[in-house]
Symmetry: C2
Subunit: 264 residues, 2 copies
């Protein structure tokens, strides 16, 4: 049985608290991943684990214990916490007793080859980290490959984004860049850009995808795509709104469009 860390003022505890905030993540390039499934996916996808924190008493799953053992053998720092200390750093109601500090990955447009990324989605300045994670999950389900986050917006390494992604964030190409650079790159690499807007004239079900690699482009929760952004797309599609609301939740709209366009 390893010695259990119990001090709330330990530097590692301070680091974890700092990483719960965007400032801490931006300054260090690290982020937090919690829970057996998510930590397991990060390890399987070969992300760089800086520190593995666990609460031995809470960690009852055989699989979770094997994760800690194998990472420890590989030289990753593994630190055991008392149940009290673990509860003080967790954001979950029923913590599973495992949390990892992981290094972020930052891909550039040059890292993406159209052959590797046939279907993708781009979000312009999304405001809700849960939406970003949920869209990664749907993108995975629909068989697409990458997500572009354009012109800022929320941090995809926010705990709510990681959680909502159900671990798919560790397997998908994720690129953060400007709308302008993205469009230039897409043109040069032969992508068809399909915008989504309540103001578009073409119903999404009328769209027939041809041979080109394709990226679906969605505006943010409040404003949607601007007129200029719609012009930058090859075609813009709308989803019929038959009731009182003028739009769907961003992640729902993305799910409907991705399944309709990608899942042939």
């Amino acid at each position: 049985m390893p010695e259990l860390l119990s001090s709330h003022t330990n530097p590692l505890v301070k680091q974890i608290r700092a990483l719960q905030q965007r400032k801490g993540r931006d300054e260090t390039g690290l982020f937090l991943v919690e829970g057996i499934h998510h930590v397991g996916e990060a390890i399987e996808a070969s992300w760089s684990i800086e520190t593995l924190v666990y609460a031995p008493d809470q960690l009852t799953s055989e699989f979770a214990r094997s994760l800690v053992d194998s990472q420890s053998l590989r030289g990753v720092r593994c630190v055991a916490f008392t149940p009290e200390l673990f509860r003080s750093i967790t954001e979950k109601d029923n913590p599973q007793g495992i949390l990892a500090v992981i290094r972020q990955r930052h891909l550039g447009l040059d890292d993406i080859l159209p052959k590797q990324l046939y279907f993708g989605a781009a979000l312009v300045s999304p405001q809700d980290p849960g939406n970003v994670g949920t869209i990664l999950r749907s993108l995975d389900g629909a068989g697409a490959d990458g997500l572009f986050l354009l012109d800022g917006g929320v941090d995809p390494y926010h705990p709510s984004s990681i959680r909502a992604s159900m671990g798919t964030i560790f397997w998908k190409n994720l690129v953060q860049t400007s709308f302008e650079e993205f469009v230039k790159w897409a043109r040069e690499n032969g992508y068809q850009l399909v915008g989504s807007s309540a103001h578009a004239k073409i119903d999404y079900r009328a769209f027939k995808h041809g041979e080109q690699p394709l990226i679906l482009v969605l505006g943010n929760e409040q404003k949607g795509l601007s007129q200029d952004q719609m012009w930058a797309c090859d075609i813009n599609l709308s989803i019929a709104m038959k009731g009182r609301v003028s739009s769907l939740n961003l992640a729902v709209a993305a799910g409907i469009l991705m399944y309709s366009i990608f899942d042939k």
Copy 2:
């Protein structure tokens, strides 16, 4: 200019705080609605407003001021708060300065006629109030009429559900009952029940809707539909999962199925 309430120990402030918790809502049959759009929708849909709270300094919109004036003329208790007191009760980062205490509506199965409810959705014990509200919003967008919440689960009058519904909760039939009673009622009233499950053999795109009124039935976030619940449905449909995750977010799955089945 009305006199501004500033006391944090005022009974109304205590009532509002109590209504932020489920216990307070269950005990009183009241709930909170915040923001100009949402309060406006509740009033337009003729829900019973018990109290309207507003912060005169923050309430800059002409429409919002007219809501307060007209409710006041109709005899609704309207209470002006200081900006500080209003901020202390709001759950929003950028409060709009208006909040209503409203009476819940509880419909029973007998209140619903198939002629009034041609397309609907049923959720078995959903756990995330945001999902309930988001599904109401999608249901409205897809042109459906009602939502059935079966065998408990979250409170649809939770602030996150209200917020995510974008006000559609005030316009849709919402029935809370047991799975068993629901199925009995659906049989007697000629509904086709369409279940959704990762274990179903039929792809949702293969489904053709006939003439019957139809209700889509979805299991909860963790467990999906049980085998018995699938048997109780006339047909069960699956959404293809092409990547690593075995399911979609509940609200995304509901959105894809509702738009595919209802939106003809």
